[in-house]
Symmetry: C2
Subunit: 200 residues, 2 copies
């Protein structure tokens, strides 16, 4: 852009956001400049504060402002159940569902030897240490139902073999509100195998 | 999010970007925190500099770091041709095409009485003043080929009626590289009416 180095730099910087290319970055920059200057200033402050202040929780590896995050620090949630998820957004989805009241461990990824991600990179040792120290009685492996997620779940369960801890995996089945005609074959097979008596 | 007020605030602030909802804002925030902290810091600086420093060019209304923008300030471009566009991104598209060497006037919108946008809001008086003062010989009305864009172009041309200035509008026709089968009827009609002898 010939007309403004500041706008140029803003467009270029916006491209570090995921899914934002040249055109979208331009549209965002012009929108902020034309109609949302106060929003832009707020975003600038929020970014600088978050980039500076957000670290990993010592206990669950999730993002946190403090050494130990709010969930790990909550005595009401240390009830012996630990749920292992791949990412903070998985944790958030479970929190928003609102039913689970135990604590979490966030791997921040999954085992993927081809990308150089081994047990160390996702903090498996820290997880095992926590399982031993915190008197965990049930470990829920809520990694994604993908090849890497399944492999990660199996690796963790192998490492805890013989420890006497109950290790569970989330149920597969038909999504609530879904229509049978749109459900894929694997999910349907899982749903049939996992069927339950109606009057439980 | 229970786990971090800083991440909360970052997600909330990202939602001021156009087309960014809750889920996308979350994905952006986690991406920056996990993999692009330096990009986040750069974006924060670029935002704060741009929100603070970018203003409107006194001469063409486009975004500029200085009182008069680089294009208006360039003596090589004051050649009596003035191109009127609706937005900075339209100007950018014309600049990237690289053929036009005159100057611009950016309306930052179009006439739209229903939204309360009249001639004053888009700086028509300033445009007319500039046309009078700068010895403009041709005024190219490059507003968008939409109802509002056409209305704006007609309004400006009416206001300059009898001034002796050549007023032109961009040609309609088949896009270069396009296939006839995919071109809509209006455009085809325009293309037929605007046909030219092959050996010009």
């Amino acid at each position: 852009m010939a007309f403004s180095p500041l706008v140029d730099e803003l467009v270029e910087s916006l491209r570090c956001l995921p899914g934002v290319g040249q055109k979208t970055a331009q549209r965002m920059a012009f929108h902020l400049l034309e109609r949302a200057r106060s929003g832009g200033v707020r975003l600038s402050d929020a970014l600088s504060n978050a980039m500076e202040g957000v670290r990993r929780c010592e206990s669950c590896q999730n993002f946190s402002d403090t050494e130990v995050c709010g969930i790990c620090d909550n005595p009401a949630r240390s009830n012996g159940t630990l749920c292992v998820v791949e990412s903070p957004s998985d944790l958030l989805a479970i929190e928003q569902a609102g039913d689970y009241k135990g604590s979490y461990f966030v791997l921040m990824g999954h085992l993927s030897p081809i990308d150089g991600v081994g047990p160390e990179e996702i903090g498996i040792e820290r997880l095992l240490r926590r399982v031993g120290e915190d008197g965990v009685t049930e470990l829920i492996l809520a990694t994604n139902p993908t090849v890497e997620g399944e492999a990660t779940a199996h690796y963790i369960s192998d490492r805890l073999d013989g420890s006497g801890i109950l290790i569970t995996r989330l149920a597969h089945g038909i999504p609530v509100g879904g229509e049978l005609g749109y459900v894929d074959g694997f999910t349907l097979t899982h749903a049939f195998r996992g069927r339950k008596p109606l009057l439980d």
